[in-house]
């Protein structure tokens, strides 16, 4: 295969674009996709401070690198989840990335700072671990951004992640979740703006980006995610993509462009008050994060 741009030898093909690229033109392609996404959805304004949620995986490290390339003012936040060797290793990749580029990485350790790990939270709640993990991440990313003056939190959710979430929401007609599924969520009282600049890149492309740039990342899957519903949705979508390239992008971007506004009325407008325990905005007296901590302590 030849590069679509320079006709030199290609190193990766992207079937949904009916294109292949050499290294340099693939990196330029990824950078342009992210630049365009940020601009189209007004994700980051001039001079704004950006906090990237870093896991040590391919998506968040590729995102941090791409935002640097686009000359944004970006710091990282790594959350130690206490998932044994997996967390130890992913933390090493995040720290090494930041150290080698002289970037600022904030760190929070759930066990040391809040007294629980994700496996302990899953056991205490008797729910899948991804629930406690997502809740902890959302709460702490918001908190750090608000306390330290960041304008926007960006995450490495890619095309595959978002298409899989959309499929799950559609299969169950979760209209309230559909109303909130968008590449950017505006800031509101007590919450920073949240954005997903990688929604135009498939995860095969973010992995290729890391390999081609020379970014070391944790390749192994989180042991707690094994067999979860989200991975099943991804497998189904990839089978459709194999048969008809472009299906995932058409599904997700078609939703964002044409269907999303139809669900806006399903978004509930809870009146928010201050959590009596930690001060975060919440619709109840105590926020979900503090309730989770109490349940783990009670075990």
């Amino acid at each position: 295969m030849k590069c679509r741009v320079c006709r030199g030898p290609a190193v990766i093909d992207v079937r949904r674009h009916n294109a292949a690229f050499c290294r340099d033109h693939f990196l330029a392609h990824c950078t342009e996709q992210v630049r365009r996404t940020i601009s189209e959805h007004k994700m980051i304004g001039p001079g704004e401070r950006v906090l990237v949620a870093v896991s040590g995986g391919k998506d968040s490290l590729a995102l941090w690198d791409l935002l640097q390339r686009l000359e944004y003012d970006v710091d990282g936040l790594y959350l130690g989840l206490g998932i044994g060797d997996y967390s130890d290793e992913s933390g090493r990749y995040a720290r090494e990335f930041a150290r080698s580029r002289n970037l600022k990485l904030h760190e929070i350790d759930l066990a040391a700072d809040f007294g629980y790990t994700i496996p302990e939270a899953a056991a205490a709640t008797r729910r899948p671990p991804c629930g406690a993990c997502g809740l902890s991440k959302r709460h702490l990313f918001d908190q750090v951004a608000m306390e330290r003056g960041y304008d926007v939190v960006v995450t490495g959710h890619n095309l595959d992640d978002e298409a899989a979430v959309l499929l799950g929401n559609v299969l169950r007609w979760e209209t309230e979740y559909l109303a909130r599924q968008h590449p950017v969520l505006p800031a509101r009282s007590g919450f920073p703006r949240k954005a997903k600049p990688l929604v135009r890149l498939a995860e095969r492309e973010t992995a290729a980006y890391c390999v081609l740039v020379g970014i070391d990342y944790i390749v192994e899957e989180c042991p707690m995610a094994e067999g979860n519903r989200h991975l099943g949705y991804k497998a189904v979508l990839n089978e459709l993509e194999r048969q008809s390239p472009g299906t995932k992008a058409a599904f997700l971007h078609g939703f964002v462009d044409r269907a999303s506004p139809r669900f806006a009325s399903a978004a509930s407008e809870h009146s928010l008050q201050t959590c009596a325990s930690c001060g975060a905005p919440t619709s109840g007296e105590i926020c979900a994060f503090c309730r989770l901590q109490s349940r783990v302590r009670a075990q």
């Binding site: 190193v11 991804c130 997502g134 992640d161 989200h230």
Partner: protein
């Protein structure tokens, strides 16, 4: 050729020469779900892999909290 697979990590021997597309078909691996790395280089699906090649099929699918 030697093919390194992950999740779980294992190595299988396959007969070459063969194209990347055919290798993935024989192993029943969806091309959307992996990168194919031969030596240290990413290769496209039409690349021909020799019988003495060492190839990594690196999974790209991650899941979990959203």
């Amino acid at each position: 050729m030697k093919v390194l697979l992950r999740n779980p990590r294992r190595e299988v021997e396959m007969k070459g020469p063969v194209t990347v597309s055919v290798l993935l078909e024989r192993l029943d691996v969806n091309p959307e779900s992996v990168l194919v790395i031969c030596g240290d280089e990413l290769v496209t699906r039409d690349a021909r892999l020799s019988d003495d090649a060492t190839v990594e099929l690196r999974p790209v699918i991650s899941g979990g909290a959203t």
